[in-house]
């Protein structure tokens, strides 16, 4: 336990306060409910707690035990040791939000570094200090677009190839609002072209949102779609996997107004889903409409360069009910980790890792496509994920793969009625040629018995 008080300390302090027992400090609490017996197991020592947690963790099979071909928004990548080493520094780990800039320059400058790298990687002009994850960053893009038109445009067009969980999150965020979401409903071909969305864009459209690479791994040039959106006065937002941008044209070049994304691929552990990192970048002209924290450069009283949280007048603690969002945190530590990761890989490494993912995925796709009964459906360029039509239900195949210690791909039938027996396979730099060949040979052996 981490309470340092000795009996003697406690006596002295109670005396100074003017009470005999600690209980006397709680007289405002209704006596009928005070000091309940909590049904929680008794305390463990650190030694016991570690053993207990180790035991629970061993009921999981991790991607260290299994060969992972599962992606769908979270990816198994290599992270240099330097990333965790910096994350563990107590000066970063145990600091609060940098409201006092004189004693928070470390956090503030790291955020500024992060904003610089995210803006550069996405090809945008400004980035905020991050949101919770890719899904909530996408939802904040919807809110920002709606607010940008002062509520006068209420239609939001979502691509059916935007991550299903992001679309669900956007639906939750817009519950009870007048925002009308179109484009993603049943019956619309989830693997159609992005230009199919143009027919949904009207004068009442605030935002069009697509994903790049999309949920099925495909990469498209969104310039035409962006032009169509802009012609109707709408904004376009592109949700991206930042790791792919070591290789691919940044979405800023497609004239995106907003770029969001899941930053997990930039050096964050899978950790069963979180904490991850929500990227959010935009154009300078929208900076005051953007939610979330921002670090800005300034000088101190001696003219020395320093950094502060800026444009705080948009934020909840100043604007209260008129704020752009209720957000009160960013993903500080995860943003820091991604900044260390991007610094460690740098210009050369970011390109190399993206290219490795691309090459290995394409090799896997070719091998799988050559199997009888398996068809790779990506006929357009893709990054590191692709869709496979399988001869059997995906959960059956994945069971067989698991027996060979392979974590199979994502079952697309869970989210798309038209994609029963379709698997989404992700390949990263972590998968060796041997791994891929084991996957292919196991798939070949799967039968329906």
């Amino acid at each position: 336990m981490y309470i340092p008080h000795t009996d003697n300390d406690r006596e002295e302090m109670l005396h100074a306060v003017g009470v005999k027992e600690i209980e006397e400090l709680f007289t405002d609490v209704p006596s009928a409910h005070i000091f309940p017996e909590l049904d929680i197991p008794p305390a463990l020592t650190e030694m016991e707690a570690v053993a207990h947690l180790e035991k629970i963790s061993q009921s999981n099979q991790s991607v260290r035990d299994l060969t992972c071909f599962l992606g769908a928004g979270a990816y198994n990548h290599f992270t240099p040791a330097a990333v965790d080493s910096i994350m563990r520094r107590g000066e970063f780990l145990t600091a609060y939000t940098p409201y006092q800039p004189e004693i928070s320059q470390g956090t503030l400058q790291a955020i500024f570094d992060y904003q610089s790298l995210v803006a550069t990687l996405t090809g945008m002009e400004v980035s905020n200090a991050s949101h919770y994850d890719g899904a909530t960053a996408a939802a904040e893009a919807v809110n920002m677009a709606y607010a940008n038109f002062r509520g006068k445009k209420s239609r939001v067009v979502l691509s059916p190839a935007l991550h299903p969980q992001y679309r669900e999150t956007i639906r939750t965020y817009t519950r009870g609002s007048v925002i009308d979401i179109v484009g993603e409903t049943d019956g619309i071909d989830p693997h159609g072209d992005p230009e199919d969305l143009i027919s949904f864009i009207d004068d009442n459209t605030a935002l069009v949102m697509v994903q790049y690479p999309d949920f099925f791994g495909r990469i498209y040039d969104f310039r035409k779609l962006a032009e169509a959106a802009h012609e109707k006065g709408a904004l376009i937002s592109i949700s991206t996997n930042p790791l792919s941008l070591g290789l691919l044209t940044p979405p800023g070049e497609f004239n995106a107004d907003i770029v969001t994304g899941e930053g997990q691929a930039l050096g964050l552990p899978l950790s069963y889903g979180g904490p991850y990192l929500g990227l959010f970048a935009t154009r300078k002209k929208f900076v005051r409409k953007m939610a979330g924290r921002l670090a800005g450069e300034t000088v101190d009283v001696n003219g020395q360069r320093g950094f502060v949280l800026t444009l705080t007048a948009r934020e909840q603690h100043i604007r209260r009910e008129k704020a752009t969002s209720n957000i009160c945190t960013n993903q500080g530590l995860m943003a820091l980790a991604s900044t260390v990761y991007m610094s460690m890989l740098g210009k050369g490494g970011l390109r190399e890792v993206a290219e490795l993912c691309y090459q290995k995925a394409h090799y896997a796709a070719k091998q799988i496509n050559s199997l009888p009964n398996y068809v790779v459906l990506n006929d357009t360029p893709f990054f590191n994920e692709f869709m496979v039509r399988c001869p059997y239900p995906v959960d059956k195949i994945n069971q067989d793969l698991l027996e060979r210690e392979i974590l199979g791909g994502y079952d697309l039938g869970l989210e798309y009625v038209s994609l029963k027996e379709h698997m989404l396979i992700a390949v990263t730099e972590m998968n060796s040629r041997q791994d891929i060949e084991l996957l292919v040979s196991t798939l070949a052996e799967v039968s329906d018995d």
């Binding site: 000066e91 939750t172 904490p275 101190d300 209260r320």
Partner: protein, 497 residues
């Protein structure tokens, strides 16, 4: 000497991380989709380590000193939590793995849901929300969904006391609600007359922070809740101040319908320089069906169905609540934060949890008793885990809470929360937490008494403070006016090509 930016440190062709050559035949790259340039830093590993180490040394942190930041509960973040969260069985698990391969994760989540429910007195808990404000938003959506399901669609008004947390009004308007501020009475409680006047059939509910941001436990808590319930409204509890209540009283027992927990405050997960947090939401029985998707469940399986001598009779799985408000984020919440909070709860046990609250409250009252002669305390009552003093004196009108805060840095202290709550002039909100020793508190008191004396004898000392920090007072107006938000990458990289 300031630390250069990453882009300023970059040197063409320098490398840190290298990857193996591709072991597969190469495919053609997607022409037309290749980026022209990638102006990212080029550094050695030592460059990177030194840069971030030097930056870290410019930070104040709990590990380096006392952090009496009111309503933020800056307690010690145990190191063991960092180890358990990094066990490969937890940290290297993909969120979409088959249920059979993640029974450990689900067991931990299920058990943590149960513990939090027990601690708060709630029927069910969702671990999904990513932070406190996210939990508030989730809680309000649950309340609105409940009213809608009961055909109560004209309810559109939410009450927020003036002593509530700053995020409450923003959350309410984000949820499309009309915010009505409730005044506090002379003792710092919710003004019952003001409350009665608003209790009618347009009432959605009340966002109730108790203890409030004055650090006071509302003396009429049960009456407040009864009035809201009588009008058909629900009561949302802001659990940011839960550290005062662990093992002392369960908000669910007092009638709160929904509450969020801050794992990053009460349950010791690190603040990380502003996140990630974790804001689970607990609900009373009538709201269980509305929780965000998914919740973890545990079903006993009949022995007859167990294959191959597997002794395990419980299986953990995801439940999709029937009237769920939907998903509030991707995947399964901030799982690594749950591992830390779970470790923490197991190490304290039920008696230890009560001791946390008792010592947090004792520490606050001790500081209160030592500072009350030198600083004006507007609500003079026994406080809970925090209290608010005025950072001003009538005889030195030019000294403000900000000046005191800046001077505290010279004493090696992090300032308290200042200018919040808004109902106290020049407020300084002080929360010591239970992990500070009497010796640390005494040193804090001595510094605060010195500063009070300096304010009277040499006020310019405060007005020009801090003197000992890595950087002086910063020009925030310039930052907002010029808006330099990222390094001018072009200036560093394009010339180097």
């Amino acid at each position: 000497m300031t630390e250069p930016l990453l882009c300023e440190l970059s040197v063409p062709d320098r490398r840190a991380t290298r990857f193996p050559e591709a072991d597969v035949p190469k495919s053609e790259l997607p022409t037309g989709f290749l980026r022209d340039d990638l102006p990212m830093p080029e550094l050695s590993e030592l460059d990177v380590i030194r840069h971030f180490t030097r930056l870290s040394q410019l930070n104040y942190s709990i590990d380096s000193g006392m952090y009496p930041l009111g309503s933020c509960t800056m307690k010690y973040n145990p190191k063991v939590n960092e180890e358990t969260a990094r066990l490969a069985g937890f940290s290297a698990v993909h969120p979409l793995q088959p249920i059979s391969t993640v029974q450990g994760s689900l067991e931990l989540m299920y058990t943590l849901q149960e513990y939090l429910g027990e601690i708060g007195g709630f029927a069910s808990v969702s671990l999904q929300p990513a932070a406190g404000a996210h939990g508030e938003f989730t809680g309000l959506l649950i309340i609105l969904a409940y009213h809608n399901a009961n055909g109560e669609t004209k309810r559109d008004k939410i009450l927020v006391p003036d002593s509530a947390h700053g995020t409450n009004p923003a959350t309410s308007s984000m949820s499309g609600l009309k915010v009505v501020e409730l005044k506090s009475d002379a003792r710092g409680n919710i003004d019952l007359e003001a409350l009665r006047a608003e209790c009618n059939d347009t009432l959605v509910g009340l966002m109730f922070t108790n203890p409030n941001t004055l650090g006071l436990f509302d003396e009429n808590v049960e009456e407040v809740i009864r009035l809201v319930h009588e009008a058909g409204g629900l009561v949302y509890g802001d659990g940011a101040n839960m550290n005062a209540l662990l093992g002392v009283v369960r908000p669910g027992d007092l009638g709160f319908d929904v509450m969020h927990y801050n794992l990053h405050k009460t349950f010791s997960t690190p603040h990380g320089g502003g996140g990630p947090g974790s804001g689970p939401v607990g609900v009373a029985a009538h709201l269980v069906d509305y929780l965000p998707d998914p919740v973890v469940g545990c079903n006993p399986i009949p022995k007859s169905e167990i294959k191959g001598g597997d002794e395990k009779t419980d299986i953990y799985h995801f439940i999709h609540p029937p009237k769920s408000i939907g998903r509030v984020k991707s995947f399964n919440g901030h799982f690594a934060m749950m591992v830390r909070a779970y470790t923490y709860i197991r190490m304290y046990g039920p008696d230890g949890l009560r001791k946390i609250a008792e010592h947090a409250v004792l520490n606050a009252n001790y500081l209160y008793s030592q500072l009350r002669d030198a600083y004006h305390i507007p609500y003079d009552r026994v406080c809970m885990h925090e209290f608010v003093v005025e950072g001003r004196w009538p005889d030195v009108p030019d000294i403000h809470a900000l000046d005191i805060s800046k001077r505290m840095m010279d004493y090696g202290l992090h300032p308290p929360t200042n200018y919040f709550p808004l109902i106290v002039h020049e407020s300084l909100m002080i929360e010591p937490t239970e992990t500070e020793s009497k010796q640390t508190l005494d040193a804090f008191v001595e510094s605060m008494l010195n500063i009070a004396e300096e304010a009277h004898n040499s006020p310019e000392l405060l007005q020009n403070a801090p003197y000992t920090t890595p950087i002086g007072r910063l020009d925030e107006v310039k930052a907002a006016k010029e808006l330099v938000l990222c390094c001018d990458v072009g200036a560093y990289f394009s010339n180097q090509e």
